[in-house]
């Protein structure tokens, strides 16, 4: 079984293929690989360990129940899981029904996060970019991403003009993209 190989020796595609065959060990390997990212996002959004664990469980069980939801055309698995986890966490935070179906999410992202080393390097780079951002820009981006606040809510909270908030959020995302170009 794939899960018997050393961690990191098997790609996401092979693990997903094994999951499609019902290999629980392969699913456990994916959990070991990405549960840290998903849990961190959920905990940052929800600020509650129990609720973050629920999100973690929900995301992986969705993948277990229907691994065909994800394919290579949807981007890399880590990014896809991260977006799903963040969106589900925001839905839970705002006590609203999930607005994003798993299968609807298609994304394009450069770094491959399957390997432990690549994942660590990507984390350092993202944190570096975020650290270098002007504080109002980083703050606007984090309020939108981790708190699910609309630009109107952010503008009300910060006292900034709506247009400025919009531009800062977009510019922040483009800065992250540029760091991996």
């Amino acid at each position: 079984m794939l899960s018997e190989l050393p961690t990191g020796a098997v790609g996401d595609t092979a693990l997903l293929s094994a999951v499609r065959s019902g290999d629980q060990g392969a699913m456990a390997s994916l959990y070991d690989r990405y549960s840290g990212i998903i849990y961190a996002v959920a905990l940052r959004v929800l600020r509650d360990t129990g609720a973050a664990e629920d999100i973690l469980q929900e995301v992986f069980m969705q993948l277990w129940r229907n691994p065909a939801l994800f394919d290579a055309s949807r981007g890399n698995l880590a990014a896809w899981l991260a977006v799903i986890a963040r969106n589900r966490s925001i839905d839970a935070l705002r006590k609203r029904h999930p607005e994003s179906d798993l299968e609807d999410c298609i994304l394009s992202v450069e770094p491959d996060l399957a390997g432990d080393a690549e994942r660590s390097r990507a984390m350092e780079r993202v944190r570096g970019v975020m650290g270098e951002m002007p504080s109002p820009q980083r703050s606007a981006l984090e309020m939108a991403y981790f708190e699910g606040m609309s630009h109107t809510e952010i503008a009300q909270k910060t006292g900034e003009p709506l247009g400025t908030v919009k531009t800062r959020i977009r510019a922040g995302l483009l800065a992250l993209r540029k760091a991996f170009a």
Binding site: G22, Y39, A79, A82, V109, V126
Partner: protein
Amino acid sequence: MSTHEQFADDLALYALGVLEGEGRSAMEGHLRECPACSTELQRLRGDMSLMALSALGPKPPQRSRQRLLDAMAREPRQAQALRTRHWWSFVPWLAAATLAIIAVGFWLQNRNLRESIARLENQAAQQQAQLQRAREVVETLTASDALRITVVAANAPPQPQGKAIYVRDRSSLIFLASNMPKLPPEKAYELWLIPTSGAPIPAGVFKPDARGSAQVIEPPLPAGVEAKTFAITIEPEQGSSTPTMPVVMVGAGG
């Protein structure tokens, strides 16, 4: 994106799921018609996913991993269920399928039998009708009260006449006679089939009634004999195996 600059900032908000109200509806309408903005949306979602890497925090508790494993064990997926299904779990389905096939077979057989019965009943009815008609013909020919009139030339005295109808393939013979002279009680007429080769064959003994009429219906004859002619002789009442001269009546086939 230069031609879509008016949507650029809103597209980032839409990727984050925080665009609300009319702006959201307008964006969704635009995305349906704009491949370039749809592609940019995918890239922005990719950028957004990188934000997750900025989140710092503890690792998930070990119990979460076990919780997931337990949940997966309780919820084997369809693909896995199929993979581990034992061969005997298909037995009920096979049995049901076999019974269905047998039922269809019986139904087809039953339908064929019904069609055969209907066909045979139709044939039997036709044969019954033919038999009834044949019986009526024979009864008419052989009825004792039938009026038999031989039409001859005017003013000619009535002459003894016989009409033999013979079908070789069925060895079937019907002979009708009229105006036959009365015979002594110990004598009878005997009809002979004269074959194209070989000795005459007895074809029935008869005595005319009071009006000189007589008939021989289906006498026993050997199969497939070709008749050259028929002849009548006067024989002892019980008949003879060879004709006794003279021949009193004779006729040719035609």
